[in-house]
């Protein structure tokens, strides 16, 4: 903090100069105090608002239920409650995914979201394709891209079989920026 006037006045008596420097000082002090106090207020407010700018929590293991529910050779819809959710999320925290049981012990679990723009893909048993209703993206039964605008195959969950149940690693909506862990 400086008590010298910001710009020396060329005319006017000493008394006037002194007065304006006093005023200038108090003005600067007043502005300065408000900047400091305002910043003290702004830090927690910005911290509150931008808290969600941080990277989302890491993926967690989620159970999709006992293995018996996924007979060999089938592809079916499974749903799980997202591990991170709020009490007022309602049904929006119930996340669907496609489970392909290759032989009862080997699996592939795909996110519901099309890799193009995130619409829900549907499984067609007869042609063994996943089709997207939005822009017509198509994927083969192993999730690889068949045709249409998607830039890659379906997002695939990492999975494990434990305690007679099928588990997948997830908990966030997959995007090109953050696809699920498995390739």
């Amino acid at each position: 903090m400086s008590d010298t006037p910001s710009s020396p006045q060329k005319s006017g008596s000493d008394c006037c100069c002194k007065g304006s420097s006093r005023r200038g000082f108090f003005l600067t002090l007043g502005v300065g105090l408000n900047v400091v106090a305002g910043s003290l207020l702004a830090v927690p407010i910005l911290g509150y608002v931008l808290s969600s700018l941080r990277r989302p929590p890491s993926a967690q293991w989620i159970s999709l239920g006992p293995l018996g529910g996924f007979p060999s050779g089938t592809t079916q819809l499974a749903t799980y409650r997202n591990p991170v959710h709020r009490p007022w999320d309602g049904k929006t925290a119930d996340i669907p995914c496609w489970v392909r049981s290759i032989d009862g012990s080997k699996f592939q679990v795909f996110a519901i979201n099309c890799a193009h723009l995130g619409c829900p893909v549907r499984w067609f048993e007869q042609s063994r394709l996943f089709l997207c209703p939005c822009h017509g993206g198509a994927y083969y039964e192993d999730g690889s891209r068949a045709s249409g605008p998607p830039p890659r195959g379906l997002f695939e969950y990492e999975y494990k079989v434990e305690k007679g149940a099928l588990w997948v690693k997830g908990g966030f909506i997959p995007t090109l920026a953050r696809p699920l862990s498995a390739a």
Binding site: H85, G90, I95, P120, T175
Partner: protein, 486 residues
């Protein structure tokens, strides 16, 4: 009695200085030529905003922005709350009208050269107002928290996820969490109800202030260019010589237009009603084909029609370039001719923009790129295509139906339009080409080699070989006869 009233009015005026305020605002002088039918769209847009503020506030009396309950309150508003359906309809149609009239306002300002010196900032605040209004329309679509809103957020998430380096963080910031859920809705509610309306009111303040300080654009005359050295003086002379007070001199047409807009919104709301809500926003219910609202259909079309390798660049860089171009316009073309009669490029730009948006919207309405997910079970094979076919060919017709081919391929116009109509496919592809196409796919068609048995392929191709007009032979390989007779 009258004198007493006058005295009371005088008493208030002495304190509030309303007469003075009026003279410098609503009563300010404008060029007489600006009292034109072309100048009614600005006030029309603002009228729509006022209506949106009123109806929006009314809706907020009942609406609950909770992911768990929003849909229930929407249904309550629509079916039980007295006149709730009408308020929802007014708000929905008000937003359509607001953006429609705003586009007309923008086109008029552009064609009349009103953005030129010294009104650059008026144009820039107008552009910002357009973006805020688009933001209100998008967040408003989320307020109608149904399946379309849920998957619309999914599309926004997917676009954010394409941003390099900070994509994951942006997704988390937009959704306020790892998934589309309760906090996402609260976030969009806050934007829609507090942040964006506050911003729009502040911007309108600046926009109108500029209309007062820099004056409304005079009706441009061909051959009278804007010169930076002389314009301000010329304008002042014009206003002095043949100016009128905006109220009451030039406001009549605005009033007629306002009344017309209100009646139009009220009528559309009464006749067409509100939109949706369409289906509980339950992500596990996947039998849904999300589509954005009318205003954003053109974006949906762009996403479908772009070649995939250009998509990320166009979706991310395109809007930035558009924004910069709009903001830079008054500096690129700062002076010179204002009249549209001397600015063919400007006229062409407006025509191309409106035609482009219109055609993309039309394409979005018909969305030929979306497969018809139910076609294989709901669209029967037309009788003409099974008449007189052999058992093998009929078996092929069954394969075509059962393997969901119809979801993308129409027969006689019925079915999906993602791929070509197969009604006359035999005139375009030979037997061998058909086999190859079915087994290997290509040209945007999946390969069916692994999913069809050889017998099924045989039958399918035999059926498709019959798909040609009676008077036109199927395509054949011209080299076959040569190869067969050595």
């Amino acid at each position: 009695m009258l004198r007493q009233l006058q005295q009371i009015a005088q008493w208030f005026d002495d304190r509030l200085h309303l007469t003075k305020l009026f003279a410098s605002t609503a009563g300010h002088r404008v060029p007489k030529s600006s009292g034109s039918w072309f100048y009614v769209f600005g006030s029309g847009t603002m009228l729509c905003l006022m209506l949106q503020l009123v109806t929006g506030t009314c809706l907020a009396f009942v609406y609950v922005p909770s992911a768990d309950e929003a849909y229930t309150t929407l249904e309550y508003l629509t079916y039980e709350q007295p006149l709730g359906w009408y308020l929802r309809a007014l708000h929905y149609w008000g937003s359509n009208f607001m953006l429609g009239i705003m586009s007309l306002h923008m086109a008029q300002v552009f064609l009349f050269g009103a953005y030129k010196y010294p009104r650059e900032l008026t144009w820039i605040t107008g552009v910002l107002l357009l973006f805020v209004t688009l933001g209100l329309a998008f967040t408003g679509q989320v307020m109608r928290f149904d399946q379309d809103a849920y998957w619309g957020l999914g599309i926004g998430t997917a676009i954010m996820g394409r941003v390099p380096v900070i994509g994951a963080q942006l997704v988390n910031l937009m959704l306020a969490g790892p998934i589309i859920a309760g906090e996402t809705l609260s976030r969009f509610f806050t934007l829609h109800v507090f942040i964006l309306p506050g911003t729009i009111l502040a911007l309108i303040g600046v926009h109108l202030r500029l209309v007062l300080t820099k004056g409304i654009n005079e009706y441009p005359k061909p051959g009278v260019p804007v010169r930076r050295e002389t314009y301000v003086e010329e304008y002042e002379t014009l206003v002095e010589k043949e100016g009128v007070a905006f109220v009451p001199g030039a406001i009549s047409k605005d009033l007629y237009f306002s009344a017309f807009v209100m009646l139009a919104i009220a009528t559309c709301a009464a006749v067409f009603g509100p939109k949706g809500p369409e289906g509980v926003p339950d992500p596990t219910y996947i039998q849904t084909a999300p589509q954005p609202d009318f205003l954003f259909l053109w974006v949906y079309s762009v996403a479908a029609l772009l070649p995939p390798y250009t998509e990320t660049v166009v979706l991310l860089v395109g809007p930035a370039v558009g924004v910069l171009a709009l903001l830079a316009l008054p500096f690129i073309s700062n002076t010179g001719e204002k009249s549209a009669r001397r600015r063919p490029v400007a006229v062409l730009t407006v025509l191309v923009a409106f035609l482009g948006l219109g055609l993309l919207t039309w394409a979005g309405l018909t969305s030929p790129w979306s497969p018809h997910m139910q076609a294989w079970t709901s669209d029967p094979t037309p009788v003409a295509f099974v008449k007189g076919r052999s058992p093998l060919e009929l078996q092929g017709a069954l394969v075509l139906q059962n393997k969901q081919c119809r979801n993308c391929h129409a027969l006689d116009g019925v079915g999906g339009h993602r791929g070509p109509d197969l009604s006359t496919v035999a005139t375009r592809l030979t037997r061998d080409q058909l086999v190859r196409q079915v087994i290997q796919g290509g040209g945007n068609m999946p390969a069916y080699g692994k999913n069809l048995s050889p017998a099924e392929v045989d039958a399918l191709v035999a059926f498709m070989m019959t798909l040609h007009p009676a008077n036109e032979l199927p395509a054949r390989d011209a080299t076959l006869s040569v190869r067969r007779s050595p």
